[in-house]
């Protein structure tokens, strides 16, 4: 078969043939088609190494005949919304089983359990299925987990041994927010930065000792986001986003950001001296210019309502899940500079979204994994396959050529995309 013959074939047939060839001839053919090796990346924290939800991995396989993505393994971790983090061929996540939250460490090659740690926690279903909502954070040989009730754990990444644990909501003298703590801890140097109280809290990552805490108000559900090249961290509360000096805990500015349910769950996106804020529950989105003082509003609208997950900024465009998941959300592309809707795809029922190598990695609510070009030209699907049963609202994660998908009911599927 020469290139010109291949090019004239209908796409589906071409895809199918390539798949067949790979299945029968294996790695040789794959290498022939994809001479470049996979650039692998540990996805060691929520929203990834660059804290933008975008993986730098390239040359992973995104094209499959309809319905046939290779699922390497599946495991059941219990009810919850925790995403997956990966380092050194190990994947970590949480789920709820029998009145406990369980932290799992599994081998990414076959999903076999390396260690797990259970701590007592009610399911606490409040307008949702319940279970843990936070994602672990890996830092070197340690894994940090913040429970919905405010128990902070430091595990040995290798053995699962608890290095230390602390009831940090009590230590910081702040209340647990309505749906429980949900933000992933952020490691900055020797500090562990937490969404806690009105504008965050910081503990020593080596022993859990509280360094500073903000006043007792309902915190938000998004993770802390640093402003690059500054000491400022942006924290969500139920009613605001506040820029805080990491060293002193002193607020530098605060933007009122009200929603109908006191729920700020999407991380700010900070880029090029600007900051994008977005929430669901009748709030919407805005772009601010970061200054020495109060951020200045550039635009504000309701074109994007990020209820659960932050949008992704790629090549001057924002891609995000717009709307209330219960009543039917959309995949929407916004212009970063103007906030205008570039396109919106109503029928996708998106549950979680990430991005790598110019492609959207979308997990639909019904458990279909969809790859599409991340382009302002419109929604352009590359391939899709059903990978999970149950309801999926958790962000799919790409690491070392595998996509980790998770349902609310607790099924985790590892889709092997290595060529």
């Amino acid at each position: 078969m020469n290139a010109s013959t291949f090019a004239t074939m209908p796409t589906f047939v071409a895809l199918k043939m390539r798949s067949l060839a790979m299945l029968t001839l294996g790695v040789c053919i794959a290498t022939w088609h994809f001479p470049t090796t996979l650039h692998a990346e540990d996805w060691y924290r929520w929203r990834g190494p660059d804290l933008n939800g975008i993986s730098t991995e390239t040359h992973w396989q995104s094209e499959w005949p309809s319905g046939t993505m290779p699922i390497a393994w599946t495991i059941d971790v219990g009810t919850g919304f925790s995403s997956v983090v990966v380092q050194d061929d190990r994947a970590y996540t949480l789920g709820h089983v029998d009145d406990h939250s369980v932290v799992y460490c599994v081998d990414v090659n076959d999903g076999h359990l390396i260690w797990k740690h259970a701590y007592p926690a009610p399911l606490d279903a409040r307008d949702f299925e319940g279970g843990p909502t936070t994602t672990p954070t890996i830092d070197g040989d340690r894994v940090y987990v913040l429970s919905r009730a405010g128990e902070l754990f430091c595990f040995d990444a290798g053995s699962g041994e608890v290095r230390w644990q602390k009831q940090i909501a009590d230590a910081a003298e702040v209340r647990v927010p309505g749906w429980g703590f949900a933000a992933a801890p952020l490691v900055v140097g020797d500090k562990l930065v937490l969404t806690l109280g009105e504008s965050g809290a910081v503990v020593n990552k080596h022993d859990g000792e509280l360094i500073w805490a903000s006043p007792d108000r309902e915190c938000g559900y998004a993770s802390p986001v640093p402003i690059p090249n500054t000491k400022t961290i942006v924290f969500p509360s139920g009613r605001s986003f506040t820029g805080v000096d990491l060293e002193t805990g002193q607020p530098q500015w605060s933007l009122r950001w009200l929603t109908s349910f006191g729920c700020n769950a999407a991380e700010p996106i900070i880029h090029d001296g600007k900051m994008f804020l977005c929430s669901g529950y009748n709030r919407g989105a805005a772009l601010f210019k970061l200054t020495d003082g109060e951020p200045e509003l550039i635009w504000k609208n309701k074109n994007m309502l990020n209820q659960l997950h932050g949008s992704l900024l790629h090549d001057g465009h924002l891609y995000g899940i717009d709307g209330d998941m219960e009543s039917g959300a959309r995949l929407t592309c916004l212009n970063w500079e103007t906030g205008d809707v570039v396109w919106s795809e109503d029928d996708l029922k998106p549950g979680g979204l990430s991005l790598a190598d110019g492609k959207l990695i979308l997990l639909t609510e019904a458990g279909e994994l969809v790859f599409a070009a991340a382009t302002p030209a419109g929604f352009s699907e590359i391939s899709r396959a059903k990978v999970l049963d149950g309801k999926c609202w958790t962000v799919p994660v790409l690491s070392s050529g595998r996509v980790f998908c998770r349902s609310i009911q607790g099924q985790v599927a590892c889709v092997d995309l290595r060529d």
Binding site: A125, R126, R217, S260
Partner: protein, 440 residues
């Protein structure tokens, strides 16, 4: 209410309407009504947005007991119009300080009567969200007071004016389904057992005492506010007192506002479980399933809801079926209306919905009708009397459920026949310092 002021307002409106209706209509497009919104949450803001979009609204004041809702609403009003409404957490203070021509009432049901009566006293026309009362006596008080003061009251029964409802009703009234002998109104959803939710301190931005108002003061629970009051009988009347009012109204529209002779209802919480309310935790307490039967002179109407089981084998989970001698007519929501002839050889007749998204309602039409009613002095399409009757039927269903027996209803006297205990339930005891409205 000051009688002088009421008389003055009534005579002014009547005189100007009679003397120069066409001129007023011509001039009215420039008229901006000084408007206040009481209850500035999700649905209240949906109404206010339509009011603003219609171009004859100046938003002078917003009122809510939740500071967050208030500030959110104020920001949106400012974004949409540049206006900076005054903000109040107490409706009494609002009506004392502001000159209000139109009041929108979108608080939880247990506040509707006191809010509306204060608005009438202040001389405002009113757009009130259904139901018109939490008890039948409250609704009666609103009806009488608004008539006495000659105020226009439009009830949020947007299904009275939605295009597919209008065309479907014409089909029915033209005899398309033949003689109707039975009407079945229903709303079904999914659901399961309910586990109690912990009580907590109210959010610092919420005046919980004022939220409860004339209702008993119970511990705050985040399942109630924001957004959950409808399933708590202190504040609302469950699914029959919510959805039921819309579909009962469709039935009343078709039968030209007849009154039922008797009402009987059964139901409970077989799936959600027994209601819980203590210092630590609580559940909702509205029935998760209920059937109410309304016996009219020459037909029977049945309300049925359940919050479990989902759609099952049924074609639709929401709507109103009219069973007639020529077939079955389904008045739906997002499924439009459909007539299924009993003669299988005849074609099914269907009309798609025409709804205003994203909420799938027709507030725009209802607001326009409200403005026209104010300008012309005519009764609006979903006039208070219409809203009152649909509300009354829903509350009679709740009353029969509580009593565990059927009640006979005298629609003319607005009384239950021969049952003192049942008549006692037309009112409720208010928590001090609030006093139950006099019917006058």
């Amino acid at each position: 209410m000051s009688l002088d002021r009421r008389a003055f307002i009534a005579s002014t409106v009547a005189a100007s309407t009679l003397a120069a209706a066409p001129k007023i209509h011509a001039a009215s497009k420039d008229k901006k009504y000084r408007t206040a919104l009481i209850g500035s949450g999700w649905w209240g803001m949906n109404i206010l947005r339509e009011a603003m979009a219609a171009g004859q609204t100046k938003v002078v004041a917003l009122c809510d007991v939740d500071q967050d809702k208030l500030e959110l609403a104020a920001e949106e009003v400012n974004d949409l119009s540049g206006e900076e409404p005054k903000l109040y957490s107490d409706f009494r203070e609002l009506f004392e300080k502001e000159e209000v021509e139109i009041a929108i009432i979108a608080t939880p049901d247990h506040w509707h009567a006191l809010n509306t009566l204060a608005a009438i006293e202040a001389g405002a026309h009113i757009f009130i969200e259904k139901p018109t009362g939490h008890t039948i006596g409250e609704s009666q008080a609103i009806l009488k007071a608004s008539r006495a003061a000659d105020r226009i009251v439009q009830v949020g029964l947007h299904r009275r004016i939605g295009p597919h409802h209008v065309s479907g009703m014409k089909f029915l009234k033209d005899g398309g389904a033949g003689d109707i002998g039975l009407v079945r109104m229903f709303v079904h959803s999914r659901g399961g057992a309910e586990t109690p939710t912990k009580n907590s301190a109210p959010p610092e931005t919420l005046n919980w005492d004022m939220y409860c108002g004339p209702a008993p003061l119970r511990p705050y629970n985040r399942k109630i506010h924001p957004g959950g009051f409808r399933q708590y009988l202190d504040f609302a009347n469950g699914t029959l007192g919510d959805w039921g009012v819309h579909w009962l109204d469709q039935m009343l529209w078709w039968c030209d506002q007849q009154s039922p002779k008797s009402v009987h209802s059964t139901g409970g919480r077989p799936v959600r479980g027994e209601a819980v309310l203590n210092e630590d935790v609580q559940t909702t307490d509205a029935p998760d399933s209920q059937i109410a039967t309304y016996q009219f002179d020459d037909f029977t109407a049945i309300w049925e809801h359940r919050q479990f089981g989902g759609a099952g084998p049924e074609k639709s989970t929401v709507g109103c079926n009219f069973y007639g001698s020529k077939g079955t007519f389904h008045m739906g929501w997002r499924d439009g209306w459909t007539f299924y002839p009993d003669d299988a050889r005849k074609p099914v007749v269907h009309e798609d919905h025409q709804l205003q998204e994203p909420d799938g309602h027709n507030l725009k039409l209802l607001w326009a009708d409200f403005l026209q009613a104010i300008e012309s002095g005519r009764h609006p399409t979903a006039d208070i009397e219409i809203g009152h009757q649909a509300t009354t039927l829903s509350l009679l269903g709740m009353l029969s459920l509580k009593l565990g027996r059927s009640v006979r209803w005298d629609g003319d006297a607005q009384r239950i026949i021969g049952d003192d205990e049942a008549n006692g339930l037309l009112k409720r005891k208010y928590r001090a310092p609030w006093t139950y409205p006099e019917i006058g």
